[in-house]
Amino acid sequence: MKLIKIDKKSLKEGIDKLKRTYGVFGPVREKDEFEFKALGAAEMPDFSFSNTRMSPKAIVYPQTQLMFTYSLNDADDDCRILKEVPMDERPRAVIGIRPCDALAFPLVRRNFDTPEYQDTFWVKAYEATTFVGLACNVPCGTCFCTSAGTSPFGKEGLDVLLVEDGDDLFAEALTPKGEALLETAGWTAEAGGGAEEKITALAATANEQISSTVAFDNIKNREILELYNAPFWEEEGFSCINCGTCTYVCPTCWCFDIQDETYGKSGVRMRNWDTCMSPLFTLHASGHNPRTKKVERVRQRFMHKLKYYVDKYDNGIQCVGCGRCVRLCPVNIDIRSICNKMNNFDSEACKCETASS
């Protein structure tokens, strides 16, 4: 493992160099909260955050994305022909992404980039991006990454991992993209002896601080309908107000809705994030809606993340344990409790209870 040492005082110099080649994104404080933003010429990433309120997924997959424009003017040669909106394909770098959020990109890629289909908008943006992670020395109480496929010092999905150690940062290039970035920034000073041990110790301390976990080992073996028909959805879904919070803040929620907006004789085709919590999500053109009840929509969110995804990809759950939905759900619906409920659900015991009562 080749480790680079970056003196925090020289961080700015490196980032300034990066800005000449990359569009640089990083966490900044805005109105008391941290969000990932494109950094202006004078702006620096602020590493004093635990995690951003919104996930960084919008860097690759914006909430509203213009896809095509069109003309409806018969006099135009290209009337009624969709023209792709040119994308910004210049290299971009995300500095300071947390390991959970980084894992979300390869996870979401399973949906957007398959041998049969490539979502070119997502794929182009993803490929243009270099992910520079920042290990979590101090995870928070709602983080459960260690049971969702990564850890506070996890590397999957990253091109570089940064580790904070007092006034220094250690950097490890994990991919050729990452090596190129470190090179461009001029971060080349080798860390020297003891760095690896330090990182191992910091990682161990961070892992120990993870206080919440989920278990899903039984879910895979359960019949879909057994979980689908489980009696707990009614009670667990009661408080849900069917807003879009949980899905919009989630780094792994990938659903969108395509809309055309026409102004006079011209228009745009765009896509917007959509949410399975909205009745409109499943409204058919016929007027039929297969998910009319709130409880059906709550169940869908969890069944998708914790059962359908598990069955389809055989690669863990569709959740990286960032805890955003837990912190931000206005009515405290907690995926950790629901996951554990689904995992421990015993339909036989449940039937007995109903039978005897």
Partner: protein, 315 residues
């Protein structure tokens, strides 16, 4: 307020034992600090799941809309006013409800508390007028009055306006508060400053609609923003559409809003959406002497026509 939890449990268990209601709606303890979850219990044995503290800022009237059973419902001052509004608007029948009134001393704004400490809050204790938050290496006691939600700080209807049971003695109502101070500040701005103020206010809106969905007033089967045939409002992050949502949401609440603050409490982005509704509340108060949800005997002013309705604004 200490002792409310026991009293709520006792009443819920009694109502369920006597078969007076099919379920009791209240709050259960949340899984993260300063969060509680709307919850229902259907048997006396479950009554122990209910709790009460200063983090019950959501409005439970939102959970009885169009329900058919007989319901016991825990209601602080503002919830009871939304129950009144619900009854007037035929969203629930009075005789379906057993209202368990909670005299309220205000709910706490989680973000205000978090702003007062460095580090993650992992536990919270509460006494009558203070809360103590602690985390790794810190513990801090904060007077409740310093961290009240803004609507609670100016509330003058803390005691339930209708109730069948009460969990405690009525509390003293606040006097000398200016309920509309925040509106007056905005009213004093120039048009350009107002524009900038509201642009900044909603600049982080993600259109999740938690504000709308947390509000008991927003019960339309299909909200105008969700309507797709015809589509009244675009669904993107276009600022025109975001503004349209906010202005129309507020107007749909005119004369009905109780300033319960559930909308603001629910917003994941910390947007003060009451800045819109509060102005309309003020107008209703000044034009019609009206505050929503105080009586079952009168309909909201925009529901009725009276020959002496103020009309000075018509030119």
């Amino acid at each position: 307020m200490t002792g409310y939890t026991e009293k709520i449990r006792e009443i819920a268990a009694r109502l369920l034992t006597e078969g007076k209601v099919d379920r009791v709606i209240g709050f259960r303890k949340g899984t993260v600090p300063m969060m509680n979850q709307p919850h229902y219990v259907t048997s006396p044995a479950m009554a122990g799941e209910l709790i009460w503290d200063s983090h019950c800022g959501l409005n439970l009237a939102n959970y009885v809309t169009d329900r058919k059973e007989r319901i016991g419902i825990v209601a602080k001052g503002c919830d009871s006013r939304n129950l009144v509004t619900h009854i007037i608007e035929n969203k629930i029948k009075r005789d379906q409800l057993v209202i368990i009134g909670v005299p309220c001393t205000g709910m706490v704004d989680r973000s205000k508390v978090c702003a007062l400490v460095e580090g993650e809050i992992t536990s919270v204790e509460e006494s009558d007028d203070a809360i103590t938050v602690s985390g790794n290496g810190f513990s801090k006691t904060i007077a409740k009055t310093d961290v009240l939600r803004e609507n609670c700080a100016v509330c003058t209807h803390r005691n339930p306006v209708i109730h069948d049971e009460m969990v405690g003695e009525p509390v003293a109502e606040q006097t000398g508060v200016d309920a509309y101070a925040s509106v007056k500040k905005v009213e004093a701005l120039s048009p350009e400053e107002k524009w900038n103020y509201f642009e900044d206010l909603i600049s982080t809106c993600i259109r999740c609609y938690a504000c709308r969905n947390a509000c008991p007033l927003c019960y339309c089967p299909t909200c105008f923003v969700d309507e797709s045939r015809p589509q009244w409002v675009g669904k993107s992050q276009d600022p025109i559409d975001v503004r349209t949502f906010h202005l129309l949401r507020a107007y749909h609440c005119a004369g009905r809003c109780t300033d319960c603050g559930a909308c603001e409490t629910a917003c994941p982005m910390g947007i003060k959406v009451r800045e819109f509704t509060k102005k309309l509340n003020k107008d209703c108060f000044e034009l019609y002497g009206w505050e929503a949800g105080l009586t079952l005997d009168k309909r909201p002013p925009l529901d009725v026509y009276k020959t002496d309705d103020p009309d000075d604004f018509i030119r």
